[in-house]
Point group: C2
Chain length 348, copies 2
């Protein structure tokens, strides 16, 4: 038996919400690591973190840190990726980037391994991890697209605060406690850090995730629309999205309406298809009140699908409810899956 | 100047969440009341309640209580309405019923005054108040239907726990505090009282409101679909709904997709139309992060509309975000508006 090859891995943004989940996932999947380098902003440099029982000191992310690195997992915000990803590639690393910095760039594969793994081999040093809300939706849609053709998607999202980072989690906690105490709520972060206005998220719903574009859609909505078309390799697909931030901590849920290109597709056909689909867990038994919820999905890497039913007017239309842990399949888990594909297929 | 005629009014379910809001609304609108009778279950009978500074004792709801009553506002659950509404009518009262008991019954007007006030005059003693999530949606859709024709509606809802009654409000409070304390959550009520399974609502999302029907839709979803067609007087309209209960106390929000029957309709056309529409407040200025949220809408009788934007693929398709206080326009306010129409038009 030959020894498994091991790799030098850097995690950029190691102290963040997603960074921590990347480390947990690397441990859980027993990723073959020779040397691990934990990188962060200068602010968090010096932090001690444990990985597989060993203590690591987080270092400030700088170009020279990528010397000798095989795989760099970036999750420290778009500006860090823009500043350092090409530097890492120049030093010989392959970058799996969890930010929106390069997702729509021509020549950068945008990958959900269950959906378009083969795109990875076209990489020129950077592979982009899609937006969390996009990943779980396309994972559920891909088997349907392949078997029954897909014409149209209209999604309304129910998104957790952890998608806006650890500070947003704290803001929801603090505001919730203040509300229950009958105190005034302080809003300093959501809906978008750095924007002019902030609204309370506790016991509320905010129809803004990321900044508004000129066409009236938010950037989050445009990410879902454009990324879905790129990942599914179809510019003809109609995709519309409304993205809403809600007062829960983990997992995004999505109310998804689709129209397929074939007639006579049944709910049973979709059940059978999704039951066998990789990375999908079907939870759909209304008679027994079985459907996924964000709390159920938290901590699990799968995409959960339920409430599949035929549209009452449109014969080729179906509604479904898709839930997944936004920090796992929506971020860390998918990034590490891409890294696994890179080494398993020798696509480094 | 002649003195304004006054009426004998009964409120059935006076001690409930909606009953209290009905009393507040009658006070606020200075409804011309000669005698007021507050009725409830035997359990709540004897409760003292204040109305316009005077203390009333709640009596058990029984047929003989409706003797001499002109208008009876029912909001004590479907079974109470089924047991007592016809008895009240037999004693000469006109019933405005806030439950689902008679809504789809032929000959019972189902009314949102801004939308189909004239239907009231066809009543045979009972007028039904629509479901809360339906009312706010049809209020926003009616002006669009009239001016641009309406072909299709797909709605995903974001609904407050107060729609499930005062106990659900307590359950959300208790669970939220337990969660923040790191304690286990106890779920005894939601998603549906009396159902086999209960799921936590705190920091979660439940894609079930009311019981499931054989077609895989919940009763709440079928209410939205069927009531919308009845109120808008069009069986041809395509309507689809996904209803989701969320962890906030007051106001329902709705992500609504519509297709109109005319080409070349613009967002500006819809803005202009809704700005002038009765009972609607337009809050739609993305550049300044202006859109309605449930917390903003709470306590206000209007229906708030924002985030209107054209679908990027379907030229006659538009998305919008509709928010309203589910206990006011969604229940109490609309019921009292119906009672006002009855007296103003002499339709008693």
């Amino acid at each position: 038996m030959t020894e498994r090859k091991k790799y030098n891995v850097a995690v950029v943004g190691a102290t963040g919400a997603v960074g921590k989940k990347i480390l947990e996932t690397l441990e859980k999947k027993d990723f073959p690591i020779e040397n691990l380098k934990l990188l962060s902003s200068s602010r968090s440099a010096g932090t001690k973190m444990k990985f597989n029982g060993k203590v690591y000191t987080v270092e400030e992310a700088k170009p020279e840190r990528f010397e000798g690195i095989d795989i760099a997992l970036f999750s420290a915000g778009g500006s860090v990726s823009k500043a350092l990803a090409h530097e890492a590639v120049a030093k010989g690393a392959v970058v799996v980037d969890n930010t929106s910095a390069f997702r729509m760039e021509h020549g950068v594969p945008l990958v959900v391994p269950e959906v378009n793994e083969a795109d990875i081999k076209e990489h020129k040093g950077i592979i982009a991890n899609p937006n969390c809300s996009t990943i779980q939706m396309v994972a559920a849609l891909k088997p349907i697209q392949d078997k029954f053709d897909l014409k149209r998607v209209i999604v309304s999202t129910y998104q957790a605060v952890s998608g806006a980072g650890a500070e947003a989690v704290e803001e929801l906690k603090d505001q919730s406690q203040a509300f229950l105490n009958g105190e005034d709520l302080t809003s300093e972060l959501l809906p978008v850090k750095g924007e002019d206005k902030h609204y309370p998220i506790a016991f509320n719903a905010l129809p803004q995730i990321d900044v508004f574009q000129e066409n009236g859609y938010t950037f989050e909505e445009m990410k879902m629309i454009n990324e879905t078309k790129k990942i599914l390799h179809t510019q003809e697909l109609s995709v519309a999205a409304t993205c809403v931030r809600l007062p829960f901590f983990t997992s995004h849920a999505e109310s998804v309406y689709i129209e397929v290109g074939q007639d006579n597709v049944t709910v049973e056909d979709l059940h059978k298809l999704l039951e066998e689909a990789p990375g999908i867990t079907l939870m759909d038994d209304p008679a027994n009140q079985v459907y996924p919820t964000p709390l159920d999905a938290a901590g699990h890497p799968d995409v959960f699908v339920g409430r599949i039913r035929r549209d009452l007017d449109q014969g080729n239309g179906f509604h479904m409810w898709v839930v997944s842990d936004n920090l796992l399949k929506g971020a860390a888990w998918n990034s590490v899956q891409i890294a696994e594909s890179l080494i398993n297929h020798n696509w480094l």
